[in-house]
């Protein structure tokens, strides 16, 4: 029921692709709906990214599209969060939904986003991750397990960082993945 309430607040629906309403931003809540599905996708450059290879880091997996207004709104904040926490073992994977590489690359360049963007061209990964609306965000812990998620535009205020920091690995990795 929590999920239904979240949906009702107004978000970009993956199915009908509705624009976000004026509802309150979403906070991350515990994930209880199963194991972490595989996520192996390519960047617009063609480089492959496998979520499993990021084991040891906390990864925020954000499903988004360029036409999704709340997605576009929250992405700069996600990039800033990554910049603050990358050295402590944090990464962001921005999983674009079904758009053409040229359009995605142009958007990322124009927005100047320092994020790892990958292309879910067939939306098969979104389906496996039970994504039914955009944006949808997951937080995967260092062991590869989904711990938190949110449907709709994230509250990118202090609460977001506060939810992620306790999950960060104690041992700091040397570099970020990007």
């Amino acid at each position: 029921m929590r999920q239904v309430i979240a949906w009702a607040r107004g978000l970009a629906v993956a199915a009908s692709l509705a624009a976000a309403g004026a509802g309150a931003a979403e906070t991350l809540v515990p994930w209880t709906r199963g194991d972490t599905p595989p996520l192996v996708l390519r960047k617009p450059s063609g480089e492959a990214v496998d979520l499993a290879s990021l084991r040891g880091k906390v990864v925020l997996v954000n499903f988004w599209a360029t036409w999704c207004a709340p997605c576009v709104e929250e992405m700069p904040a996600l990039a800033r969060l990554r910049a603050r926490l990358a050295a402590r073992g944090f990464e962001v994977l921005a999983v674009n939904q079904g758009e053409m590489p040229a359009r995605v690359s142009a958007f990322v360049d124009r927005a100047g986003l320092d994020l790892a963007v990958v292309l879910d061209r067939d939306k098969a990964v979104a389906k496996a991750w039970q994504v039914r609306a955009l944006p949808t965000t997951f937080v995967v812990d260092a062991s590869g397990r989904i711990r938190l998620y949110a449907v709709g535009e994230l509250d990118t205020g202090p609460a977001l960082e506060a939810a992620i920091v306790p999950l960060l690995p104690r041992e700091r990795p040397v570099t970020a993945a990007r």
Binding site: W7, L17, A18, M100
Partner: protein
């Protein structure tokens, strides 16, 4: 929709002619029937082919209806191999082609069809009886149109107290007109995940959402119903700027409608999504439900369609022949797969494709 259900009509190296079996007398109608004939040309040029590239295009309905007769399609797959397939059970015709690595994939399809406005007089008792097996197909759930759970409960609530099928169909139509909204920011025509719409309470969208909601609710209420996927080809002659194609370039004019089968009357055209389009888009915009234009559209679009529109098919969960990336919820836009995945069918400029229409 299973691949094995397709009837292969032709297997041609680069070009071909697709003729539905039932096409016969489209031009034999008298002028009084007001049949109009259109030619629609779809040209796809895949800008970024990779590995084996495949393209699929919907043809006009392969079964004749009181409002449309296909006059056939021709196609040419330059440098590749083209085929045409159909599944009469869903009126589905597909022209598809494939190219090997290194080719420049260009597919052009030219379709002709005859069309005329349709109106069903629901005030008179009729004698139409449907084929039970055919109608059973239009009561089934699809991936995005479940007929149980919240869909069934909503349908039962809406139709509670309705005396007969016409009253049920009308109650659902009125509910869609009054409870939903057209969202101009919805991409394409939407995708029609009606369970999600009802669970979220977000009842906004476009035709593939709102009319799919009609179809799903009707099926859940026991009324055979179907989405009819298509594209607008000409201006409206009834003064509705929002309900027609303004130019010969109809690349982004896709529109789906709905039909409900009412015993005695047969398939009855409805289009509550276009009522919401009139409300949102007819000048000056955001018209009240009591505006004369809205009232007229709402009355007209339960039982009649203006046929400035081409119907493609009734199919859901379409298993594209030769596809490797799964089914599509419906086939209303050109589709393409390359070695790097499925292309975004709602991005004609980067895909790339163009669709034009002209009356002949």
């Amino acid at each position: 929709m299973h691949r094995r259900d397709f009837l292969r009509l032709a297997g041609l190296s680069t070009s071909g002619l697709v003729l539905p079996a039932a096409v016969t007398n489209a031009f034999a109608q008298s002028p009084a029937d007001r049949w109009r004939t259109f030619e629609v040309t779809t040209r796809v040029e895949v800008l970024q082919p990779a590995g084996r590239t495949r393209v699929w295009l919907p043809t006009p309905l392969t079964v004749d209806t009181p409002y449309q007769k296909s006059l056939g399609s021709t196609f040419r797959a330059e440098g590749g191999e083209g085929r045409a397939m159909s599944d009469p059970a869903w009126g589905l015709g597909v022209v598809w082609a494939q190219w090997e690595e290194g080719a420049r994939p260009v597919l052009t399809m030219v379709s002709r069809f005859a069309t005329r406005d349709i109106a069903v007089d629901l005030s008179r008792p009729g004698t139409v009886r449907g084929d039970r097996a055919e109608l059973a197909r239009y009561l089934e759930a699809t991936e995005y149109l479940p007929t149980d759970g919240i869909v069934r409960k909503t349908a039962m609530d809406i139709t509670k107290g309705a005396r007969d099928d016409v009253a049920k169909a009308r109650a659902i139509y009125d509910w869609i007109c009054e409870s939903t909204s057209r969202n101009p920011r919805t991409r394409g025509c939407g995708t029609g995940d009606i369970k999600y719409m009802l669970e979220s309470g977000n009842l906004s969208g476009k035709c593939a959402d709102l009319n799919a909601l009609y179809v799903g609710l009707a099926r859940a209420a026991g009324l055979p119903a179907r989405d009819v996927y298509g594209i607008r080809v000409a201006k409206s002659a009834h003064g509705y700027k929002s309900l027609g194609a303004g130019t010969e370039n109809i690349t982004k004019a896709q529109h789906c409608r709905a039909e409900v089968f009412l015993t005695g009357h047969g398939w009855v055209p409805v289009d509550p999504a276009d009522v919401r389009k009139v409300i949102l888009e007819e000048p000056p915009g955001n018209l009240p439900m009591g505006d004369e234009k809205v009232v007229k559209a709402r009355e007209r679009l339960f039982g009649s369609w203006e046929m400035n529109w081409l119907a493609y098919n009734f199919a859901h969960d379409v298993d594209l022949p030769g596809a490797t990336k799964g089914k599509v919820a419906f086939l209303m836009y050109p589709q393409c797969e390359t070695g790097e995945g499925r292309l975004d069918c709602l991005d004609p400029d980067n895909f790339k494709y163009q669709i034009t229409a002209r009356e002949i």
